[in-house]
Symmetry: C2
DNA sequence: TGATTCGTTCGGCTTGAACCGAACAGAGCG
DNA sequence: CGCTCTGTTCGGTTCAAGCCGAACGAATCA
């Protein structure tokens, strides 16, 4: 690797470290992902230890987290004995979709359900009269909002990045 | 407020507390937003202290954060003496847009710039020969991805929730 | 002008996250 | 069977965040 390439690589990885922090991951996660992003072959934990400088235990924990989130993949299958090897998911859009699916959608769903539950325990008693029902109105508002957001997220995570961009660009108000 | 309404309100507020945590805010932020969400009038800090049970200093700090993020609004202007009063932004879509604009877009922009900078320090020397340029290729890939994401976020934050939903639903692949 | 009320700021406590080193369990190899 | 290498787990340390109470400056009111 040329000197320039090494410098550039390091800059990008530092950027990724920072991004990781913004999105609620640790710096180590950003660096490990970055190293894997540039690696031409899958890397094992000892290799990651050597290239990142982090302790083995840290690498073990962080790779587990990154795998769960979907940023990296674990190839324990193919040859090389006992070694577990990791590769980066480089299709960033997949990662974004995963996050939306796993976290955002899930959160929206949970909250939406909770709101409907609260609303139900209200509608039965209150019934027809809408007096004193500021709460009921506010809860209804919130429920509708969450339903909207849920649907939007659902639709978005069904499209590729290019499709989404296309859908947005071609939309005429 | 009826007994039922009180219970329902509390349930929803607890949900918001939890949501706040998911999105990287504190529980106190969720509760304070929730109390303001249901309040019919703007509330001052002492009133929030009374209704949330948090210390005055906590309320002061949290309200500042919430104001900065755009989840609540500060009305120091109109009458009522020195009191600062807060109202919740109940149009959740505005909040989402703000977050995208303030945090996501900003992060994408910063990283994108950093990547282009790294790429520039590379292209000049490497030039035409693409040998040994795995790094260059990877960086180019990443730059394009970030450009795409940036544009998507930009387009999204220009639409209302209804428009976005419409755009997605009416899109034919 | 005191006295009170309001909002901010400061120092301290507690808790949880990030990271480390060491100990451990299993698989392959001599 | 030892020995080595791998990956996980466990305790410990450090540091930042959340929250509190107290102190403070500014404004209002008696």
């Amino acid at each position: 690797m040329s000197e320039d390439a090494e410098v550039a690589r390091e800059r990008v990885i530092e950027s990724l470290e920072q991004s990781a922090e913004v999105y609620g991951l640790s710096r180590s996660a950003g660096r490990i992902y970055g190293v894997l992003y540039f690696a031409t072959d899958p890397l094992s934990i000892p290799e990651l230890v050597e290239r990142t400088g982090y302790a083995k235990s840290t690498v073990s924990n962080v790779t587990r987290t990154l795998t769960r989130v979907g940023l990296i993949r674990r190839r324990s299958s193919d040859g090389g004995g006992r070694r577990v090897r990791f590769t980066a998911e480089r299709e960033v859009w997949f990662i974004v979709q995963d996050v939306f699916q796993q976290y955002v959608y899930r959160e929206l769903q949970t909250t939406h359900r909770e709101i409907r539950r609260a609303e139900r325990g209200l509608g039965d008693a209150g019934g027809a009269d809408d007096a004193g029902g500021v709460e009921a109105e506010r809860i209804r508002e919130l429920r509708e909002t969450y339903a909207d957001l849920r649907e939007i997220v659902e639709l978005v995570s069904d499209l590729s990045a290019a499709e989404l961009r296309d859908a947005l660009e071609s939309y005429e108000r």
